[in-house]
């Protein structure tokens, strides 16, 4: 079965003013859709069509660049839409909050570390909060790579990803990636990030 573009659980304009409607619409219907189409084309006839995305990521070094780029693009954007929501933000709670305090010292320190990872990623890529074994770590990856890939410097299960490709913010923030990285905390969906944390931690 071919991969499909997931529907968003909220309207394109519902993350305003932090992420504008036009950016959301183009990001979802054009960029993400292109990754899905290109991934399906790259997998067609290879015998890998029915593999799970996570399994493709785990052996990405042995697959063509088109699978790495578009499979990563599909996985990363699917996660990205889910870890945001209208009227989001606030602070994480429960076990995730405890883990953040344990590994980063405080929520503010996590914000600083993750924002800095996004700000210093040169070119296109992603900043990640990752469950690595029993630890929480921050990393960043180039282009559409992610921590599930066997080629990643820091491997683990991403529970929060911030897209720092210019297409994620350029219409509203232009060269001011730092302002985008400050604003995105207002739309984070901590229930979803906590859910992913609980599934990943062991």
């Amino acid at each position: 079965m071919a991969f499909e573009l997931p529907k968003l659980q909220y309207a394109y304009d519902s993350l305003e003013p932090h992420i504008d409607s036009k950016t959301m619409e183009i990001h979802h219907t054009k960029h993400h859709a292109a990754y899905v189409n290109n991934l399906n084309n790259a997998l067609a006839g290879t015998g890998n069509e029915n593999k799970k995305l996570e399994d493709l990521m785990a052996s990405i070094s042995s697959l063509p660049a088109a699978v790495r780029n578009n499979g990563g693009g599909h996985y990363n954007h699917s996660l990205f839409w889910e870890i945001m929501k209208p009227n989001g933000g606030g602070n994480p709670t429960g076990d995730l909050a405890d883990a953040i305090n344990r590994y980063f010292g405080s929520y503010d320190k996590l914000k600083e570390t993750l924002s800095n990872a996004g700000l210093t990623r040169f070119g296109s890529g992603w900043a990640w909060l990752v469950v690595k074994g029993s630890e929480l770590v921050v990393t960043s990856t180039p282009n559409q790579d992610n921590p599930l890939m066997d080629v990643a410097d820091v491997k683990g299960t991403p529970i929060l990803g911030i897209d720092v490709w210019e297409h994620a913010y350029y219409l509203k923030y232009q060269n001011r990636r730092n302002e985008y990285l400050s604003a995105i905390w207002n739309v984070l969906n901590w229930e979803e990030i906590s859910r992913r944390f609980k599934l990943a931690i062991h």
Binding site: F122, W165, Q174
Partner: protein, 191 residues
């Protein structure tokens, strides 16, 4: 001596409608300027303090390479463009393109493909190799062919910031329009 932002050889609105004034205000006034500023902040106290951009491109790594190469790349890109330009090259460059690519149309198609298919941020380049032959290469991020001993002749910036305000996800449209601005007089003289 510190690095400086070179003057643009045309007005910010001169490349309209292919490249909007707003895009150039950010691309030249913010991005290019930031690379200059970052480089000036990074080199003091290093062996690159008084180095040329070419030396930095060939020898530096990390932030000094990224910012130094991006200063050079943007100057080279902006100087490749002019209002009321486009068309086709003439003279020795036209002959070399015909010899190495078959025709101008074939060259254009190959260069455009390199620009459109570069994944992520980066640059498409027409270069002259050590034997004087023309080649097309893709470089990611701040990459510059000088580092590989190749001589740049023409480049197209395909970082999203180069076209996103005007073309959004439609990079192929940007690359197609880019040809209307290529200043073959300057490009031919480089060759």
């Amino acid at each position: 001596m510190s690095f400086e932002l070179p003057k643009l050889p045309y007005a910010l609105n001169a490349l309209e409608p292919v490249i909007s004034q707003k895009t150039l205000e950010f691309h030249y006034g913010k991005h290019h300027q930031a690379y200059v500023n970052n480089l000036n902040n990074l080199v003091p106290g290093t062996k690159f303090e008084n180095a040329s951009l070419e030396t930095i491109i060939k020898e530096a790594d990390g932030g000094i390479f990224n910012n130094g190469a991006q200063v050079w790349n943007h100057t080279f890109f902006f100087n490749s463009l002019a209002p009321d330009a486009g068309g086709e090259p003439s003279g020795t460059l036209a002959d070399a393109i015909k010899k190495d690519f078959g025709s101008f149309a074939e060259f254009k198609e190959k260069f455009s493909k390199a620009a459109v298919t570069l994944f992520g941020s980066g640059w498409a380049w027409l270069v002259k190799n050590g034997e004087g032959k023309l080649e097309i290469v893709q470089e990611p991020n701040a990459g510059n062919p000088l580092r590989k001993g190749l001589t740049p002749v023409l480049t197209c910036d395909v970082w999203e910031h180069a076209y996103y305000l005007d073309y959004q996800n439609r990079r192929p449209d940007f690359v197609e329009s880019f040809w209307k601005l290529v200043d073959w007089k300057t490009v031919g003289a480089r060759f």
